[in-house]
Amino acid sequence: MTRLFTFWAAHRTELAGLLAQHVLLVAASTLIAVAIGVPLGIFASRRPRLSAPIVGIANIVQTIPSLAMFGFLLPVPLIGGVGARAAIVVLILYGLLPIVRTTITGIAGIDATIREAGVAMGMTSRELLRIVELPLALPSIAAGVRVAAVVGVGSATIAAAIGAGGLGEYIYRGLSMVDSTVILAGAIPAALLALAVDGGLLWVERQLSARRRSASRGTALAAAGVALAVMLVSGGAVAARSSGAIVVGSKNFTEQVILGELVAQTIERETGLPVQRRLNLGGTLICDRALATGDIDVYVEYTGTALTAVFHQPVTTNSHTVFTDVREQYARTGRTLLPPLGFDNTFAILVRGQDARSLGLRTIDDAVKVTPRWRAGFGYEFLERPDGYPGLAKAYGLRFNGEPHVMDLTLSYRALSSGQVDLIAGDATAGLISALDLVQLDDNRHYFPPYDAAPVARAQTLLKYPQVRTALERLGGRVTASDMRRMNYAADAEHKDVAQIVSAFLASR
């Protein structure tokens, strides 16, 4: 609990920004959902035959998991891609159902005599809608808007996966760091926001249903309007402040967030250009897609990942060949791979420091003679990948005491340290390696492909801002594996603020 408050206190500016982003996402999408949903509901209630299909489609849309919806929208031009726009589109789609449905039921629930009185006194169907039907359906519609907004607050947390920001940032960050404090740091404000939105809109709804008090009705609508305007303006102000010329992205794990921040601060320091951070994007595919569409200008990729996951090429092991190959493929698609930062985030075969020292283990070959007595623990991905365990076992003739245990990658470091297993495959830059006194065995047969970290940027951006290219080129070779481990450790284990870690690192150069 104390850690949570410490975290909030340390990140209060960021927290306020994320909260504002969250509110803006929900307010903008709810507003647009009302603008589309109410007319759609009116249309449906005028044509009862279309009403069932319209509600049906809205129902189906709502059953699509939001992460899947973001995935569908990624390649769609104009409304898709990554960032707030795509997130708002998804939130609008979710908001439509409750609004359309309550508009239909609100209008359908009006006493037939009242409608007949309107028609008989010579109202056109428009006048009937404006003077009679909409005012009487308003409380019902307000209930739909409330549901849409509350659902929106929840769904908007998912939007962090595509770089729309909001409180989901903390949730994703916490998930990738396996740190429940950070998860709660985002989840609790999101829950409170949902309760506040629910309570506020419930109040508006009650005022509207007290149909006799025309004055209070006006007050309620005015209050809702003012609140919405304040949200949009304040959210917009925050969003505008953070919008800038250069957009830096990153994937959603600690090292990537640190590298994104490193690139961002480097550009800020050396060029003075405003930088917008779009960190914690949902994975390689999303970062690559965002770079292709121009939603981001630069992010840090690993050469081996680019080769296999982006360009679908077979694995090769010479780091220089991989780098030039990948750089050429990027160049053909309008993107520039900049010089590697200086460390290789490859798989690291790790053993306990005391074992390495007492048995004199330096390379994987050294370990082969002892492994038949050892137990191994590997992440699921490592067991499955073509460049993972099966190939490794063949390349070195490795055998273990029983089948390797399947375990979560993050947990495997502690499993090794506490003696539950004797050998694991981790990340070469994991902060826990030095913290837990683990030793990486040298891949002396060069089995693992290289995963040299290097910024990849849009060629257009670099042409327009040559000073950005200069700044990023000067980052080349500046970050060693132990630098990276230290920064990862500071973030994951010491829970330090990423921006501070990076600025301390840059200051120490």
């Binding site: 009242i114 009185a117 006194m121 010579g122 109202m123 003077i131």
Partner: protein, 240 residues
């Protein structure tokens, strides 16, 4: 020229029941006609044919000499006031708001509307200070019915249609409103068609009474002549 006239009007409900078959009927300006009959006799259909909520299958309904088919429905309805049994006051508007709806649709200025609302509240005998700002659910049944009449009279239409206007009221209030109606009609002199299943109400209000039986006008005459009619279908209603 009669203010209202039905010429060989036939009308069949969507279900296929023939309600009116070559129906003929005329109302002179300033007359108060009560149409009496059992439920299902076609009384409400006749009213809805007049303000074009329904169109006849064949024949013509003439309002001020012109077939309803030739009238633009919105214009026609604003020249024909309509009072429903359930009144149908708009629950989200005050009494003043309800009375002022049609003037507002007609684009009257706010001052003219509020003056008219006051005038009509005077006419229906409700205090203008107290009632203009009241809400429909704060009114008694009788008051609501009066407001319904005022709303129908708001833009001074020459014709007033009333569908069982006093049917839902208790007998004492009903008699009171009958007196009130006669007083108002003496001042406004509209052409009125009232639909009722209550012969006593017809005698109390009408200058002419039409007796409907299965979509047929079996008698149409002054109250005095109706009361002495020998027609069994009329007698049956008289004695009920």
């Amino acid at each position: 020229m009669p203010a209202l006239e039905f010429r060989d009007v036939s009308f069949t409900r969507p279900g296929g029941t023939r309600v009116l078959d070559r129906f003929n009927f005329a109302v002179d300006a300033g007359d108060v006609v009560a149409l009496v009959g059992r439920s299902g006799a076609g009384k409400t259909t006749i009213l809805k044919l007049i303000n074009r909520l329904l169109d006849p299958d064949s024949g013509d309904v003439l309002v001020e000499g012109k077939s309803t088919r030739a009238w633009e429905p919105i214009r026609l309805r604003r020249r024909v006031g309509y009072v429903l049994q359930d009144v149908g006051l708009f629950p989200h508007m005050t009494v003043g708001g309800n009375i002022g709806v049609v003037p507002q649709l007609e684009g009257w200025t706010a001052e003219r509307i509020s003056a008219r609302v006051d005038e009509l509240l005077d006419l229906i005998g409700l205090d203008r200070q107290t009632f203009a700002r009241r809400w429909p659910d704060e009114l008694s049944g009788g008051q609501r019915q009066r407001v319904g009449v005022a709303r129908a009279l708001a833009v001074d239409p020459p014709i007033l249609l009333m569908d069982e206007p006093f049917g839902a009221l208790d007998p004492v209030t009903r008699v009171e409103l009958h007196q009130e109606f006669k007083r108002i009609q003496a001042r406004v002199k509209k052409t009125v068609v009232i639909v009722t299943h209550d012969m006593r109400e017809a005698f109390a209000l009408a200058t002419r009474i039409g007796v409907l039986d299965a979509g047929e006008l079996v008698a149409f005459d002054t109250p005095a002549s109706i009361s002495s009619s020998a027609d069994p279908r009329v007698r049956r209603l008289l004695e009920s």
